[in-house]
């Protein structure tokens, strides 16, 4: 099968062009944007809760310890203290909780399993008093030999992070391996015969933290009907509602989750952590309880799993992949959170978007006494992509074939399988077009300036494999509208897209559309805001609700006017009758007549999983990206200057080019973080050494490439509205591979440990010099 490497014109439509839309494909500015530039937008900690009590936690300064005794009396004695709560004070229903594994305690009980895990909580009249009281609690503990890295966790006599009683039926419960995933296809023997070169290396990917500029917090309040309201800037309000309802034994209808727009989520604000505790505190004290987290505390709340990947890869003489073997260990932390899924889904695409006859992937989610890792933009794919992309380049370097050519020869064409076996996955886009576009934008065919290097890499990530989004749209009498859609707008601009869909389908002016989200009392169910799913899933639900309204308008208009319904046609924004076209909102008003009223439309997008599928179902779409970079390395210091950074995504259709560029550049620059500078460092006691902004660097204005180019390929071939796909993660999937290749191109040595710091480059250059001097 051959691919089609000829790139089309930018945004060339295969079917419906943007020019035929009224609102889709336009650079509409962000809904909620004015509030955000003026400071009027209320994030959780900007909301006022009159009479709220404040919460602070007591912790111990080690990552693994047995709690011997907790003396809360010095805290209880302080003025303004309302309650001091340890695990022993919680009701029996406050069991361990989680998504796939019920392993996380509401408060540490018996042991502390990672640095920062709360042992006790204080509720007091002010935050100063709460902090002082939490500091006064005396915790007697005995430090245990915690396992803080993969090597220690995997020794045969390693201390178990989780007692086997927490997962009694699990055959692996006497190890620190929580889950494994294996993917394999093809016969090795015939391919070995064709293999000209075998490359074998080990790569590492650091633990990094999300570092949202809004650290966030939780507020919980008892409600008049005997329930509880929980305010949290979460990505998954309905999941939080379910877990709090389970633990407090309240019906869903009495647990209200209010989710103010998150100030950055990136996957870190998906799963409940302290919300159940706050719900119990509110119920016990009958007060509104507020917890405001510091940035340091969010470092102890969320992170990406670190990873070590051993890879062995075979190539023919002309650079075709013959086999690829990966074993990937993910250091997931003390509790499961969604990390087993991160491991399973990330390693599923471990072999990349390539045509490989033989693949063996063996991945493990390994427990360590560290912050539980969770979802983080890319969801396991950047870790494995780092190894696979680097392997391709390592092979290419030895064969004398450049990075672009290696990808041209191995990347699958549209419809071609890159995952084989019982549940085959095929390319759902013309990915070669992204590759060629990126090559063109980085001037790949031009010679590189001496001292510089160029790299190109590709990445894929499976979108959601099942899902459910429900939405309601109300078209009001005056032609304005309200959309109820549970997607959390955490920066991706979901609300803007729902406005655009309504403007397109119903002809309602953008400024007359209100979007309601983030309140489980009011807004219908949405499974979650993750995996770049919302534009596809919720987008389709909103689209369906609009079309439902169009049908209802047509029917009532026919009834009200006596025109035969068959003589009416509803199309986007207009109603066409015997006398020609009229705006749909006018037809709606005429149909409603003197009684006024409104139209209510409902939409649902449901994707059921597939029995027996390793991911529980086929991905609704794949995010595909090609990144190309050019770097300049200072030969004396090893300092890296990014001279150019190109990212091209296979987006299907850009519903809003402005938001696509924002998301794409944002992801790309975030990718520079784990590639060049970020890593959570632990000491021998499992304490985070670089806890806080002073010591943990993320990309700044000065770290962005001198020239940055974000582009996309539009073939209108996605499953979402108007042919769109999810786009928010693509640009960080392969940043590391592209930068790694560029560094190798510049200095002649491949680095295999992230982040690629100046020190590591300098050391590699010196070692190479020493070798060549011998």
């Amino acid at each position: 099968m051959t691919a089609d490497p000829v790139p089309p014109e930018r945004g060339a439509p295969s079917g419906h062009g943007a020019e035929s839309y009224r609102a889709i494909g336009r650079p509409v500015t962000r809904s909620g944007g004015a509030e955000r530039v003026t400071g009027a937008q209320s994030y959780l900690t900007d909301l006022v809760f009159p009479g709220a009590a404040e919460v602070a936690f007591a912790t111990i300064p080690v990552g693994c310890a047995e709690i011997v005794a907790v003396d809360t009396s010095p805290a209880t004695a302080l003025p303004g203290v309302i309650a001091v709560v340890t695990a022993a004070d919680l009701p029996p229903s406050a069991s361990r909780f989680g998504i796939s594994h019920q392993d996380r305690p509401v408060l540490a009980s018996g042991t502390v399993n990672f640095h920062g895990e709360p042992v006790a909580a204080v509720v007091a009249e002010t935050s100063d008093l709460a902090r002082a009281a939490a500091d006064a609690i005396e915790i007697e503990y005995r430090e245990l030999p915690g396992v803080y890295n993969l090597a220690d966790a995997l020794t045969s006599d390693a201390r178990l992070v989780q007692d086997p009683s927490i997962r009694p039926r699990d055959p692996l419960n006497d190890t620190n391996v929580l889950e494994t995933a294996d993917y394999a296809w093809g016969e090795l023997e015939p391919e070995q015969a064709r293999t000209h070169l075998i490359v074998e290396n080990t790569y590492t990917f650091p633990m990094v933290t999300h570092f949202p500029i809004e650290p966030g917090g939780v507020v919980a309040a008892p409600t008049d009907d005997g329930g509880v309201a929980v305010y949290s800037p979460v990505q998954h309000p309905y999941l939080l509602q379910r877990i709090v309802a389970d633990l407090t034994e309240l019906p869903l209808s009495k647990v209200r989750v209010v989710a103010p727009d998150p100030g950055g989520g990136f996957g870190g604000k998906q799963t409940p952590r302290y919300e159940p505790l706050l719900a119990f505190l509110a119920i016990q004290t009958e007060r509104t309880c507020r917890l405001v987290l510091s940035l340091e505390e969010t470092f102890q709340l969320m992170r990406r799993s670190g990873c070590r990947i051993a890879a062995r890869t075979g190539f023919t003489q002309d650079g075709q992949l013959t086999f690829h073997e990966l074993s990937a260990d993910f250091s997931i932390g003390a509790y499961a959170d969604v990390a087993p899924r991160v491991m399973t889904k990330g390693s599923y695409v471990g072999a990349g978007p390539y045509r490989i006859p033989v693949v063996r992937v063996a991945a493990r989610a390994v427990l360590t006494n560290t912050t539980p890792s969770c979802a983080f933009r890319g969801f396991g794919a950047p870790q494995v992509s780092w190894a696979t992309e680097s392997q391709l380049d390592a092979g290419g370097r030895q064969l004398g074939i450049d990075s672009l050519e290696m990808r041209r020869r191995n990347l699958v064409g549209v419809g071609e399988a890159f995952i084989c076996g019982d549940h085959e996955a095929t390319a759902d886009g013309r990915w070669h077009e992204s590759l060629e576009r990126a090559a063109e934008l980085i001037d790949w065919s031009e010679p590189v300036t001496p001292g510089r290097g160029r790299g190109i890499a590709v990445g894929i990530k499976p979108g959601a494999t099942s899902g459910l989004s429900q939405s309601l749209v109300r078209l009001l009498y005056d032609g304005s509208a309200i959309v109820y859609a549970g997607t959390s707008d955490m920066g991706q601009g979901a609300r803007t897209l729902w406005q655009q869909i309504l403007a397109e389908e119903l002809g309602v002016e953008l400024g007359r559309i209100t979007i309601i989200s983030g309140d489980t009392d009011v807004v219908p169910f949405d499974l979650q805001t993750s995996a770049s799913r919302s534009t596809v899933f919720m987008g389709n639900a909103v689209l369906e609700a609009c079309r439902d309204i169009r049908l209802r308008v047509r029917r009532l208009y026919a009834e009200a006017t006596g025109i035969d319904e068959a003589d009416l046609t509803d199309s986007p924004g207009v109603m066409i009758g015997p006398d020609g076209a009229m705006p749909l909102v006018e037809a709606a008003q005429a149909a409603l007549g003197g009684l006024r009223g409104e139209f209510v439309g409902q939409g649902t997008c449901r994707l059921r999983g597939v029995q027996g599928h390793p991911l529980g179902g086929d991905a609704a779409f794949y995010e595909f990206n090609c990144t190309a970079v050019e770097v300049d390395i200072d030969p004396d210091t090893g300092e890296l200057l990014l001279t150019k950074h190109v990212t091209v995504g296979d987006v299907g259709t850009e519903l809003n080019p402005l938001q696509v560029v924002s998301q794409d550049e944002g992801a790309a620059i975030m990718g520079l973080g784990h590639t060049l500078m970020e890593q959570v460092l632990l000491d021998d006691h499992g304490r985070i050494q670089n806890l806080g902004a002073l010591d943990y660097r993320i990309p700044t204005f000065n770290d962005v490439a001198i020239e940055m180019v974000s582009d996309s390929i539009e073939n209108n071939d996605g499953p979402g509205p108007y042919g769109c796909k999810g786009i928010s993660e693509g640009a960080l999937l392969c940043t590391s591979g592209a930068v790694g290749a560029a560094v190798a191109d510049a200095i002649g040595v491949q680095l295999r440990d992230l982040p690629i710091t100046a020190e590591r480059i300098w050391t590699a250059m010196r070692a190479a010099d020493a070798r060549s001097a011998e």
Binding site: T38, L295, A693
Partner: protein, 167 residues
């Protein structure tokens, strides 16, 4: 176990300061930062808090005409000073700079944005013809995890151009 004398630390001090043209008399604990005073005591929440360490710029305000990280200033140190917060910029509607932030797609989650707008405003006032490299340097104390850096630079350039042509 804390040996600290909590009551002494929490002893209040009296501070008078001007915020956005309004005089405020506050009685706050001596350790209260200007940031917390603006947000919690005065109730202006447009100024954001992230690192509380002077590293992110989310809390940027004008203090006697110069920008500072308000998390690094004690409220008591601002005695007699005049403070300008993000709320003071847009009393008559969005500023040209704020409009350009929106038009350039610079606003994602938005938490860093008030700080970015304040820092950019200060830059435009001191260096109205800043080149991209100067903009990056001047803005490098303001972190954006959504990483709208390219968009923000574009917004500042566009606002500079508008101001230049209207001068």
């Amino acid at each position: 176990m804390s040996e600290r004398d909590v009551s002494r630390e929490l002893a209040p001090v009296k501070v008078t300061l001007d915020v956005n043209g309004t005089a405020h008399r506050l009685e706050v604990p001596a350790h209260r930062t200007l940031l917390d005073a603006i947000r919690d005591d005065i109730g202006l929440t447009g100024t954001k808090k992230c690192c509380a360490d002077g590293e992110c710029g989310a809390c940027t305000v004008f203090l006697d005409g110069r920008i500072v990280n308000s998390c690094l200033v004690l409220c008591a140190e601002a005695e007699g000073c005049s403070v300008g917060t993000i709320e003071s910029l847009s009393v008559g509607g969005l500023t040209d700079l704020q409009e350009e932030f929106l038009a350039a797609g610079a606003v994602q989650c938005g938490v860093c944005i008030p700080g970015q707008v304040m820092a950019a405003e200060a830059l435009l006032q001191t260096n109205p013809t800043a080149k991209p490299a100067e903009i990056r340097e001047a803005m490098s104390g303001n972190l954006c995890r959504c990483a709208g850096y390219e968009r923000i630079v574009a917004a500042i350039q566009a606002a500079a151009k508008r101001r230049g042509s209207s001068r």
